[in-house]
């Protein structure tokens, strides 16, 4: 496997998108190719940073308003005009 092929498969390597044979071949390539290992490592760093992004809580006023809506009868106007998925 050459580096170009390997780089094209790195994302799938981590996303379980490779067949076992292709996965083993890529793993073998990575063992012998420091630049591709570095590339994989960088991609993983970016993903790790993204997973650590703060999760913004719902503002208290909004949560109160929505919880209060549970006690309201359904709004027929809204339910007929909301853009529901097909």
């Amino acid at each position: 496997m050459n580096c170009e092929t390997a780089r094209g498969q790195l994302q799938d390597f981590d996303d379980d998108g490779l067949a076992p044979g292709a996965r083993a071949a890529l793993a073998e390539h990575l063992l012998g190719c420091p630049p591709c290992r570095r590339e994989l490592n960088e991609q993983r760093r970016v993903r790790r940073l993204l997973r650590q992004m703060p999760r913004e809580p719902m503002p208290v006023f909004l949560k109160r308003r929505l919880l209060a809506a549970l006690d309201l009868p359904p709004d027929p106007f809204r339910s007929h005009t909301a853009p529901f998925p097909s």
Binding site: R44, Q52, P54, E56, A69, R78, S79
Partner: protein
């Protein structure tokens, strides 16, 4: 005397032990609730207050980020989230179970957000003419006290940089990278919500990750050099 059986490790196992090649931790969003669908159903169909409070907390970060990829301000994004929940409460009887309830909810969100985004675009021409600056990327980071103490959270400046990088992406790429990498959704879930093929989803994700990586180049180089 028993001789221990030695087994050669597969290349994959060996890669796992290489320095600087560690697997990322599992996404926190998927660990928290074992049966989101059941909880959502209790919240929307049974109007169960406790379940509703939990799903509001559970989905708010993802819903807000997806809304933000379509509209220009935090306040409008919050309105989109609010309208989505109200529409879901009113329309739950029309949910036919052809997709996951979470998928249905996020499709409603996208429909509302897209409509609001188009309205934003029309309004923007007026504010541009008046010289009023549109707000830049607002930080989606605050209130450290409400976070899970176990979860490692990025420092504010880096979080803002990542937010800014994501905000420069085309809307579709923003949606994919937010749901896959920030929220930890599966590829299948993302394809269902966005209505894209798996191949398309992978391309969008790859492009989005590359652009975020470029935007963080100096940080990653520094971290790599020191680690």
């Amino acid at each position: 005397m028993n001789t221990p059986v030695l087994r050669l490790r597969t290349p994959e196992e060996r890669v796992g032990t290489l320095p600087h090649v560690s697997l990322p931790p599992p996404p926190p969003a998927l660990v928290a609730v074992p049966d989101e669908e059941w909880l959502l159903m209790r919240a929307l169909r049974d109007r169960d207050e406790s379940a509703f409070a939990r799903v509001l907390d559970l989905y708010h970060p993802a819903m807000l980020r997806i809304a933000r990829s379509h509209v220009r301000s935090q306040a409008t994004a919050e309105e989109v989230v609010q309208d989505t929940w109200l529409a879901a409460l009113d329309g739950i009887d029309r949910f036919e179970g052809r997709a996951a309830l979470k998928t249905w909810l996020f499709r409603i969100l996208r429909n509302i957000a897209r409509g609001r985004g188009r309205r934003d675009d029309r309004m923007r021409s007026f504010s541009d003419l008046s010289g009023e600056a549109n707000d830049p990327i607002e930080a989606l980071i605050d209130d450290a006290s409400s976070r899970d103490p176990e979860q490692k959270v990025l420092d504010r400046e880096l979080g803002q940089r990542i937010d800014a990088a994501i905000a420069t992406l085309p809307t579709r790429q923003q949606e994919v990278i937010v749901l896959r990498d920030v929220e930890g959704w599966s590829a299948e879930e993302v394809c269902n919500v966005l209505g894209v093929s798996d191949t398309n989803q992978r391309v969008l994700l790859h492009r989005a990750r590359e652009r975020v990586r470029k935007a963080l180049r100096d940080y990653i180089d520094e971290e790599g050099g020191s680690g």
